[in-house]
Symmetry: C2
Subunit: 242 residues, 2 copies
């Protein structure tokens, strides 16, 4: 049942502090919720205005009204269902051939889009600085379109991690080697920096090589690409050579 | 002065009907407004909480309060200024070497991002179907980050246009020739379809060749990329060969 207490708890889950306190996060929409089936995520319960569209034989699915759904949804236009999912504590996988490293990404949509790109290109691990936006933030979860369930997203001290890795650390910047001429090494970490400030100096020091996307527009053209778009274009280029 | 009547007019400019009625649209934020300097757009007047940051000697800049700004801004977090700009009627340029064609793009963020990409890659013309979201929609304008001022965005009957063009019409789809193996012709129209439904059948009939971005993830990976991300990855690939 959707008690007043539960409503209060769920409403607090847009804050990391409360996700950690209750050890829970929310996933909205049957389409994304279905993706959890093939994952190790544990759904505690589901609240739905269309319970018949979901098939989770081992999970309790509570029918609710649209009014109730509005109370627990973080979406401007709530979808059909809200799943209450246990917060996992993913462990770092061993160094992968290609990893995405995020240094201070703040925008939930950017993190979500980058996770979706990782999924498309078959990159299994995304390693984030401690101050990167939390993957279980409801806006991130929704913008991954379900890809979060297939990608190992971990948070760590980046300078420590990058100092001891046996892969090549490749930074991205407005100045660097043209991605079209760059020979990507066998095993590397692709580092993307904060939306406004780029990589922090301590991280930049651990970079072997910076790469850049050449601009073809005229001088007055747009100054930069959004970080998730840059990630997509660079990944597209990396995989053109594989 | 910011009269009650003006406030009412400006507030209506999120709708195409009223933009056309008053022949006006709004541009928000000094950074984007400055970009209009190098363009043929005509600014009627500017309302600003920081008029000293703007240098438009020939334009009237009205100082306003934050409260007044909130009334005329379409942004959740209003920026410093709102410029009232005359709605232009851009004419179609002659066929360019590479053109982006949009068939029914609905999301303002997608159109804005695609215009920003056109600007980055130096593509001068974006041709939209009549039912594509309007470029002067405030959400589109803001998400172009000012690139709208440098790209010729026109609306036309696509089937008519694509039938008579002397360039090769290249469609984008989930099935098609791998972009990494495709030889882009000398002169082509790159066609992107609606977010949910892709290109409409009448447009598909006029396509010489469909291309696709190969997915490297496992079977259960994300079904598709967002249309603006797909545009970025494809343009990245096209320009790798130039």
């Amino acid at each position: 049942m959707l008690t007043a207490h539960k409503i209060k708890v769920f409403q607090s889950l847009d804050k990391k502090k409360f996700r950690q306190k209750y050890n829970l996060f929310l996933v909205e929409g049957n389409k994304i919720i279905q993706e959890l089936k093939h994952s190790s995520y544990k759904i505690q319960e589901i609240f739905s205005i269309q319970p018949e569209d979901l098939s989770f034989p081992e999970t309790e699915i509570h029918p609710i009204t649209e009014r109730e759904l509005k109370k627990i949804s973080f979406l401007q236009t709530p979808k059909d269902s809200v799943a209450v999912v246990e917060l996992p504590s993913p462990e770092m996988l061993e160094q992968q051939k290609i990893q995405i490293i995020l240094d201070g990404i703040q925008d939930p949509g950017n993190l979500g889009t980058i996770i979706r790109l990782a999924d498309w290109f078959g990159i299994e691990q995304v390693i984030c600085s401690q101050d990167t936006v939390d993957v279980y933030n409801p806006k991130v979860i929704q913008s991954t379109k379900g890809s979060f369930a297939r990608i190992n997203v971990v948070y760590t001290d980046l300078t420590e991690y990058l100092a001891k890795t046996d892969a090549v650390n490749i930074g991205t910047d407005m100045v660097g080697e043209n991605i079209y001429h760059f020979d990507f090494p066998e095993k590397f970490n692709l580092i993307l920096g904060n939306e406004g400030n780029g990589m922090r100096p301590e991280v930049e020091k651990l970079v072997s090589q910076n790469i850049t996307i050449p601009r073809f527009g005229q001088k007055q053209s747009t100054e930069s690409l959004n970080v998730s778009m840059a990630t997509g274009i660079i990944l597209g280029q990396i995989f053109s050579k594989i």
